[in-house]
Amino acid sequence: MIPGAFLILVVPLAVAGIGYILGQWRRLTGLLATVTAFMMGLAIATLPLDRPVAFWGGREIAMGEAVDILGRELGFTPSARWSMAFIFFAAAGIFLVAWAVHAHSLLYSIGLGSLSLLCTALLIRPLIYAALLVEIVAILSVFALQKEGQSPSRGAIQFLTFSILALPGLLVTHWLLERYALTPNETSLLSAAAILLALSFALLLGILPFHTWVTGITRDSMPFSSTFVLTIGQSTVWFILFAFLETYPWLTTYLRHNPAVLTLGVTMSAVGGVLAAGQRRLGTLMGYAVLADTGCILVAFGIDASSSLSLMLLALLVRPIGLTLMAAGSAKLTDWGLNDSSDKLKGLGWKHPLSTGVYIVGGMSLAGMPITAGFVWRWALYRSVAVQNVGQAFLLLLSSCGVVAGLLRAATLLLDYSGKSDVPSATITFRVWEWSTTAIVVLATLGCIGVGLWPQRIAPLATQIAASFTLLVK
């Protein structure tokens, strides 16, 4: 009998190894990574946890069975199951679109290896190991973030630095909370743990003022790799924060529904929106849009509403859609324009309307505009915040408008008629989108709009996942 946790750990790692060996065949590696991630997600989401299932060759898979690694138990919990299913499906989506637009092959091997480690982090207890595994994933991500044949990515170095700085806080928090459990009278331990935990997660999530790495990686790193970090990586960090709060419920009173967290979220969103409005580079705009979005997630974390957790999970579910589309558009446009400086991008939209359209739709989704996936949770968030404070809801709305203003500036630049003739035609005719690329990207765009038009398909899923965090949802 094969324990499910063992499969989750080994299969992506093995395929990552094969993918690395087959590195020069990018298309094959990408396809392999996409299929593996999708199949793993499907297995986690559908196979029963309470009984083994007969599989190929008479072998049985017991998804719910725990496995011991280095004396630590990796056991399935309902919340870990849904979190893992989500990260595998999101990764499959990112790999598929990256495959369609010919992203570089290290993304697939590093991505699959990271998925294995991130799932282990979600399953393993005590959480001290989860923190170390997340750290290892952050360091490995630098290899995928680095652009081929370019100077070392400053964003990637900043990401590495901030991740390392977050480690001590996470590890010491664990020790402080264990001590607090033994001596509940020493409340100073609890407040110290809460401060350290908040600081560490702020560093890992790129929360103001530790946000420089977010815009750094979107500016000068591989677009799909930064999307992977900002969706899969960040979602896992949020899930681990939830696990901390479930394991040590005393922390909840300090961190959740806290007015300071709410204010920080609103400020972060407003800053992201304002700075996004002034951007003319595609990558930087993407970074500030993410900053504004993370601010909104923080607001959802801070509001005192029963739907708080569902809103956060809905935000994490829809973020990969918008960000992947932005990455696809940005990857293609910067590839054609050679880099994303404004003079190179001028007029490129006339030659490549699909890439431009995809980038704009993805950005609209990240800004939470109507008829896109991002609107599904933003509208619900604005309504929840408005009940408590209309001013804060208005600021959040303005931050969305800031991101849209940035997108309009980018669109104006890309569709600048005067720069149309500057585009080297030889480059364009050489690199046309293939039919498969067009089909996948158009489907992803339609999916983004479809989720925005029919939110009833995805919203119950977020509520269902939220229900699996039994202590937090109360």
């Binding site: 190991y129 290892i136 370019q150 070392p152 590495l160 390392i164 590890l171 664990h174």
Partner: protein
């Protein structure tokens, strides 16, 4: 043949304040120097001092393994920088010779600033060790932890080269490791922290190699 324990017992007189002073001096050298040979040597000595202090807090074998990981990291840095030096030597343009004089002056100003910053960090670390001593560790080790963390952060913050940033981060991690080994004596945690340190070194080495492969025009534009 003397065992590891015998060897460490012979130099046990170094495992208190002399090791802390060693950490301070190597830390300052790392912050101030821009000569990679000196940096690697300082890092080797720093790991030696950390091992001496660790030997008071944990099993000698664990301390030795941590030291070995540190010295392997130094080896990675040495090989990377040596290779980089050879590559850069080949492509060095002799026409920049006249500006060497002004460059030397600039380095001197930078070194003075770095020295001042590292002295200020030392004062802050000393004050922190007096006012907020770390739990579960002796005072001198508390000071060593603060020094390593402070000087490591300073080095990472003041550098642009991937290798120097990694050296700063590893110094910071050494400081934390010295403290955390008392709080969590688990071998698995020690092993994973070693993996983290080694991966940081490999990543820095990878980025340095990328820097060498970058065409000069592109590197200047960025």
């Amino acid at each position: 043949m003397p065992t590891l324990a015998d060897l460490l017992s012979r130099i046990s007189f170094l495992s208190a304040m002399p090791a802390v002073v060693g950490i301070l001096l190597t830390g300052i050298v790392l912050v101030v120097s821009r000569e990679w040979h000196l940096d690697v040597l300082a890092l080797i000595l720093q790991y030696f001092c950390v091992v001496l202090l660790l030997s008071r807090l944990t099993q000698i074998e664990v301390a030795a393994v941590k030291g070995l990981i540190g010295w392997m990291i130094c080896m990675v840095f040495y090989l990377t920088e040596r290779r980089a030096g050879e590559t850069e030597q080949d492509s060095m343009d002799k026409s920049i010779e006249p500006s060497a004089q002004s460059r030397r002056w600039m380095i001197s100003a930078r070194a003075s600033f770095s020295l001042l910053a590292s002295l200020m960090t030392t004062v802050v670390a000393y004050t922190a060790a007096l006012r907020i001593p770390l739990p579960e560790v002796p005072d001198d080790i508390s000071l060593a932890c603060y020094l390593l963390a402070g000087l490591g952060l300073l080095m990472a913050g003041m550098s642009q080269s991937p290798i120097r940033i990694a050296m700063g981060l590893l110094t910071f991690l050494s400081g934390f490791d010295l403290f955390f080994v008392v709080l969590e004596p688990s071998l698995a945690v020690a092993g994973l922290l070693g993996v983290v340190s080694f991966l940081v070194a490999l990543t820095a080495s990878f980025l340095r190699a990328t820097e060498l492969d970058t065409p000069a025009v592109e590197a200047e534009s960025i």
